[in-house]
């Protein structure tokens, strides 16, 4: 490399590495160390205890349902924002980010107020025999709210960049809308959808603030894993908190790897679509 080298590498890289080490790696290392010091037998006993397993089940099921809902609704929202012009479109585009800007605890009490039996939506649903607040459905609703922007914002730029010539070519060849959507557009959008889905799912697995208000927090029924960690801490059961938190950490890292792979694929598709 004969290019001129800019100044500042030692300083900026030094700050970056120091900060990442102290702020990110040190605490995560301490958590792993604490969990590892339990020994395999104790560790396994804690993370496979019936209450912990029930919390994984509740968390994963609610996160899957919320992600499935957001896949459909988020995709529809991105589609409407990119493809159609209608009054209020810009406002809608702006408020899609509200779940990111609004503190999770605020979202939690707001959703609880809406879906509690005496709330605006709760009152409408109660006669139908549907209760949302204090059930797993409530957990799902909270997850839907907090993870919605991920899918919209992953799909939106790809949809904007999609070459309409492909659709026109398909039309010329006599394909109908449904066929064009399935055979031409969906394959190009799938990587972005998958990336959005994995981001939303990862966020839902780790969500805490929005959920604890609307979930009933009953062990085995409506207790999410992050709440169980919190409860173990309040009971001063630090080994259990460390072990269960480490399970969440491992899953988060697996999700991070999946997201990175999907994004790399998404980018290859985008490059090919251009």
């Amino acid at each position: 490399m004969s290019r001129r080298v800019l100044p500042g590498l030692p300083l900026t890289l030094g700050i970056t590495l120091l900060y990442v080490s102290i702020i990110v790696l040190l605490p995560l290392g301490a958590l792993v160390f604490k969990a590892a010091s339990l020994g395999f037998y104790d560790y396994w006993r804690i993370v496979s205890s019936p209450r912990a397993v029930a919390s994984y089940r509740v968390t994963v099921l609610a996160a899957l349902a919320a992600t499935a809902f957001n896949l459909v609704f988020g995709f529809a929202l991105a589609w409407v924002l990119v493809r159609y012009r209608f009054p209020g479109r810009r406002l809608l585009d702006a408020i899609v980010d509200l779940p990111f800007a609004l503190p999770t605890a605020v979202a939690g009490i707001a959703l609880t107020a809406l879906f509690a039996p005496n709330g605006w939506f709760g009152m409408l649903l109660a006669p139908l025999g549907i209760s949302v607040a204090y059930t797993i459905t409530g957990i799902m609703v909270a997850m839907c709210f907090t993870s919605l922007p991920f899918i919209v914002r992953s799909v939106q730029p790809v949809l904007e960049d999609l070459d309409t010539a492909l659709e026109e070519a398909a039309q010329t060849l006599g394909a109908r809308d449904g066929t064009i959507f399935r055979q031409v557009m969906l394959p190009l959008l799938t990587p972005a959808l998958l990336a959005g889905v994995s981001l939303a799912f990862a966020r839902s697995l780790g969500e805490f603030g929005a959920i604890i208000f609307i979930a009933g927090n009953q062990p085995f029924e409506t207790e999410i894993t992050s709440l169980l960690v919190f409860i173990r801490l309040e009971e001063f059961d630090y080994p259990a908190a460390a072990a269960i938190a480490s399970v969440m950490l491992i899953i988060a890292i697996v999700m991070l790897a999946v997201i990175n792979i999907l994004q790399a694929r998404s980018l290859r598709y985008m490059a090919r679509a251009r």
Binding site: R3, R4, L6, L9, L11, T12, L13, T16, V20, I23, V24, L25, L26, A30, L31, F33, A76, L77, W79, V80, R83, Y84, A94, I95, V96, F100, A101, L102, T104, A105, V106, A110, A113, L114, C144, P149, Q156, P157, E160, D161, E168, D177, I180, A195, G206, G209, S226, V229, L233, Y238, A241, A245, L249, A252, I253, M255, L256, Q263, S266, M270
Partner: protein
């Protein structure tokens, strides 16, 4: 680009389908996004403006607001400096492990705030790695301001860096190289060439970082201890009032945070209009690699 006024109808441009889909999206958005927003203010003012003013003016609420602002005033500048340094190092130089460093910076984004809080407890808490040493030195980190600040730093560490890196990557190094070859020093180049070019992305990162710091709940609730009038940030105060069955108070405090959120969204809109262009990767890093690859 698909746009308005096209002659050829595109997929899904059938009027009935179009109307139905817009209707569906608007109705669900009203239920999922708008209704919670309205509910917060409706509840906060449900007993009148006086009760609202009384709750917000309550000393504990005032202290919570102050603590939240102080935390943001420490965390946001630190993470801004970190974001600038990380972006400069990653985008202006080639060194082995660049991609890996990028992933490390993004880690806090995918980790549950609860896991972050627990992790900090195992460093600075009494049962943590440094806990006994800190206790001997009589330094209080956990259940005190330093713990709140550190946990907030973890949660928002990627925010500024994530805005800057794709943009600086796309802008390349030519301008900076030209400036230094004309004799400008490193700082001069940074301040008069780089910063003006990324100012909107920088501002956007700062605004997002601030919103998240002020709203952080899970991580802070573990390390702060939520001591009323002492280590209770505003989101924690919302929870406390809520569990005290002071619903109106909780929503009054929440409405203050909601105003911060709305200001954040408005700022985002203005920044985007300022020629920073759409910046969807700001909220999802989905196309970050695309920009990086395009620049490479």
């Amino acid at each position: 680009m698909s746009g308005p006024g096209r002659r050829v109808p595109l997929t899904g441009d059938n009027p009935a389908f179009r109307r139905a889909l817009i209707g569906f999206v608007l109705v669900v958005s009203a239920i999922v996004i708008v209704a919670p927003l309205v509910a917060i203010f409706a509840q906060a003012f449900s007993l009148g403006v006086d009760v609202f003013a009384k709750t917000v003016g309550d000393p504990d609420t005032q202290h919570a607001i102050l603590l939240t602002v102080v935390t943001a005033l420490i965390v946001v500048p630190v993470n801004t400096v970190f974001g600038l340094a990380a972006a400069w190092a990653i985008t202006k130089f080639d060194f082995p492990g660049r991609r890996f460093l990028l992933v490390l910076i993004e880690i806090p984004f995918s980790i549950s705030p609860i896991v972050a809080g627990v992790a900090y407890l195992f460093v600075y808490g009494l049962q943590g790695l440094l806990g006994p040493t800190l206790q001997d030195a009589e330094i209080k980190v956990i259940f005190a301001l330093p713990g709140i600040v550190l946990a907030s730093m973890f949660v928002t560490a990627p925010f500024v860096a994530r805005e800057l890196i794709p943009l600086m990557q796309a802008q390349g190094r030519d301008l900076e190289e030209a400036a230094t070859s004309l004799g400008a020093g490193g700082w001069r180049t940074f301040l008069s060439v780089t910063v003006p070019n990324v100012r909107w992305a920088l501002l956007y990162g700062v605004v997002l970082c601030n919103a998240r710091v002020m709203g952080e709940f899970g991580a802070v609730s573990i390390v702060s201890g939520s001591i009323r009038g002492q280590t209770n940030t505003l989101p924690l105060h919302v929870e406390l009032l809520y569990h005290d069955y002071n619903t109106v108070g909780a929503f009054a405090a929440a409405s203050v945070l909601t105003v911060v959120a709305i200001v954040t969204l408005v700022a985002k809109l203005l920044i985007e209009r300022r020629g920073a262009g759409r910046s969807p990767q700001a909220v999802s890093p989905a196309d970050q690699p695309a920009l990086i690859k395009r620049a490479a």
